[in-house]
């Protein structure tokens, strides 16, 4: 199957600053692909080049098999990081407008706008002006505007930012729904947990350079396993145990990475003396750990 996006040796500079450096990336069709990376790493620049809002200085970029990305704009859906709506237009009108900009005929756009609003629980907001919508509803309208033309490839830049848990849930369902309908979905995020839950593959970029890409299993396989611990008690006392290389302590949960010669059983014994353990298991590292390991210490901020 033809990859949805094929990036070969793409470089993009802004003045002296190299935003994306000799990037190679292939994104297969029909999967959910996560773009991860710290702020300023080049995620948005890469996405803007895919959307032909920016153009690469060097290298080659094919989207849905076309080098001329203008030609496939109607087959793409894009939700930028900074998203807005026309305040004076109603939810229905704005969906129809976005649909028609993507080449839908008027009647079809109207029908789909109505359907989409009904399906995602906004049926009664069809004639409400966008300025009167709550933030969550506004975001829903925005994403519906992104998919009203049934694109083959949907790119969501930070779709979860600013959403409450209920709306995060809805957004996640929506993304899975898109995948079920055969679309390729790319989304960028800071929140590793979401990437871990949703993505078939991830791409990690830092300072314009690709750090990692591949399926979650492939990537995790390349990293050592760690101890995942749920506990009650004083986390500082865990650090007293010998043979622990690193610890990510979140207060009630912790990830422990041991020195190669340390026996996990010994660590378990030492732990039981210090804190109350509710869960203990040894498994592949979390995406968060991989992120910190790969990027740690060299984030620009």
């Amino acid at each position: 199957m033809q990859p949805a996006i094929e990036i070969a040796g793409v470089t993009k500079r802004f003045g002296k600053n190299v935003a994306v450096n000799a990037l190679d990336l292939s994104i297969p069709a029909g999967e959910i692909y996560g773009f991860l990376g710290p702020n300023g790493a080049g995620k948005t620049t890469t996405i803007r080049m895919i959307m032909s809002i920016l153009y690469p200085d060097e290298g080659d970029l094919h989207v849905l098999g076309h080098r001329d990305t203008e030609a496939v704009k109607d087959r793409l859906g894009y939700l930028p990081e900074e998203k807005g709506l026309y305040k004076k237009m109603t939810a229905g009108e704005i969906l129809v407008y976005f649909g028609r900009l993507k080449g839908l005929p008027r009647g079809e756009a109207k029908r789909r706008a109505k359907d989409l609003l009904e399906r995602y629980g906004l049926g009664d907001r069809h004639d409400v002006r966008c300025e009167a919508l709550s933030k969550g509803m506004g975001q829903k309208v925005q994403i519906l505007g992104t998919i009203i033309h049934e694109p083959e490839l949907v790119i969501l830049d930070e779709p979860f930012s600013g959403l409450d848990p209920v709306n995060i849930e809805l957004m996640r369902d929506l993304i899975l729904d898109l995948k079920r309908r055969g679309m390729t979905v790319i989304f960028s995020t800071h929140i590793m947990q979401q990437a871990e839950q949703l993505c078939d593959r991830i791409f990690l970029i830092n300072r314009g350079q690709k750090v990692l890409d591949g399926t979650l299993e492939e990537i995790k396989g390349g990293f050592e396993s760690g101890i995942h611990l749920d506990y009650d008690g004083n986390g500082a006392r865990i650090r007293e145990i010998d043979g622990i290389d690193r610890i990510n302590d979140s207060g009630k949960q912790a990830e422990l990475y041991l020195d190669p010669e340390t026996d996990p059983q010994a660590v378990l014994r030492a732990l039981t003396e210090r804190v109350t353990i509710r869960r203990f298991d040894v498994r592949a590292p979390s995406l968060h750990e991989i992120f910190v390991q790969s990027v740690g210490g060299q984030v620009d901020e």
């Binding site: 959307m51 153009y55 990081e81 026309y86 305040k87 004076k88 237009m89």
Partner: protein, 522 residues
Amino acid sequence: MNDKIYLVAQREWLENVRTKAFWIGLLIMPVILVAAMVLPTLLSKTKDARAYAVIDNSGWLDEAVQTRAFASDLAIMLDRLGFDGKPWPEGLDELAALRTEFVDQPDRGDFARQSTGVDPAPSEPRLGAAQDLAESIRRWWDSLEPDTARDLDRRLSKAQFRQVPASVESRETLNEKLGDDQIFAYIAIEADPASSDDPASYVSKNLTDNDLENWYRRHATAAIRDRRMELRDVDPELATYLQGEFRLDRSKLSDSGTAESVSMNDRLRQWAPVGFVYLLWLSVFTVSQMLLSNTIEEKSNRLMEVLLSSISPLQLMLGKILGIAATGITMVGTWVICLIGAIIVLPIIFSGGAVGVDFSFLLSEPRYLISFLVYFVLGYLLYAAILVAIGSVCNTIKEAQNLQSPLVIVLMIPLLLMIPIGQDPNGTMAVVLSYFPPTTPFVMMNRAAGDIAWWEYAITTLLLVASVFFATVAAAKIFRIGVLMTGKPPNIREMIRWVRAPVGLIPERREPAEASDGGGQS
């Protein structure tokens, strides 16, 4: 490609025509227009004839003033009544006779003065008959009521002023009447002004409205002069000769080379362009500002990227420019239609020439309205290109105001020179500014009354169209970089560098090195 431009334009138009500001702008002009055409008439209709009293101790002056007032009213009646839909006074056969029998008189003013005895009559036997007729008209005139007079002609003195008898009353009783608003003013003539220098007095509560004062003074001065000549035994004919005024017939050289007399309409035709320049300026300015604020709004509402994922920056820019153009055309088009409608309909509603200002020449000489519409479109397109570029690089209205201030200064030039150019439409300044594209629309509109040669229209329009083209190309280059910028707006030099960067309108796969999306990437 064109479909998407049309879609953007359509949305832009719909959004703008839904705003209150648009409807206010749309309706205010016709309202002002109709008011300007009708109000003067309505006002003078409702204005009561000002009542006045005269205490005349000279024994002759007021009578002489009344005779002169009658003479000038008679001239008006001979001149106007029965023409142009003006009514004819009922049962006044003498006037008809006077007019038909003395139709050969060269000057109706002179004739009226001679037949009423104000001026000495030349020894012509027919004038005796005229004097008889005038005398019976005078009897009718003496009892003419202001309301009736106003229906005949507003300019008649009988329509404006009404004398109340005051011969036996003292100044105290007149002061009381003034206090009660029974009369508007009174004039007290204590001594015979022909032999004394003591001033007479004019007493009123309202000294700003001096129509009555001026009117009375004018006639009284003339009467006193006659009287003094008489007292010194100056031959009446010599007196008339000596007092003859310098006569100046205003006329304008027409196309055929013959001088025509200047009517009210000619003056209106001369100054109508100034009104149109003001309207043009107002509409170009407000409509292009609309474009600026819409562009900034779209930027601050974070809509640019969503739109640019569906359409190219060029499509977006052209769509916006055209959409706002449609809004503007809707507005000025409505104005023009209202104007034409008012010109046709108002005289029918207010039958009998009651419309104060006659704009009908706008229909017979369409160059005014055509210039207005054409220069609106071209002027708007030029300023739209510049303002959409400015809007694209700014994030707030305030930043945009700073950037556009040089432009506003240029825009002020035609507004400040409106009157001087109207007075001298083919002067050097007017001609030079016609060839400067940013002022071309306004100045050419301003010069519309000045019979401009066709080639001048052709060259200035060509220059204007060319600058619209180049401004739009330059704007497109700035726009496609500017719309994605979030930081501080670039300075003019940076923008000029963008314009000169070797990229086409439809972007190729290269960006100028200066381009920056201002740290928006993450």
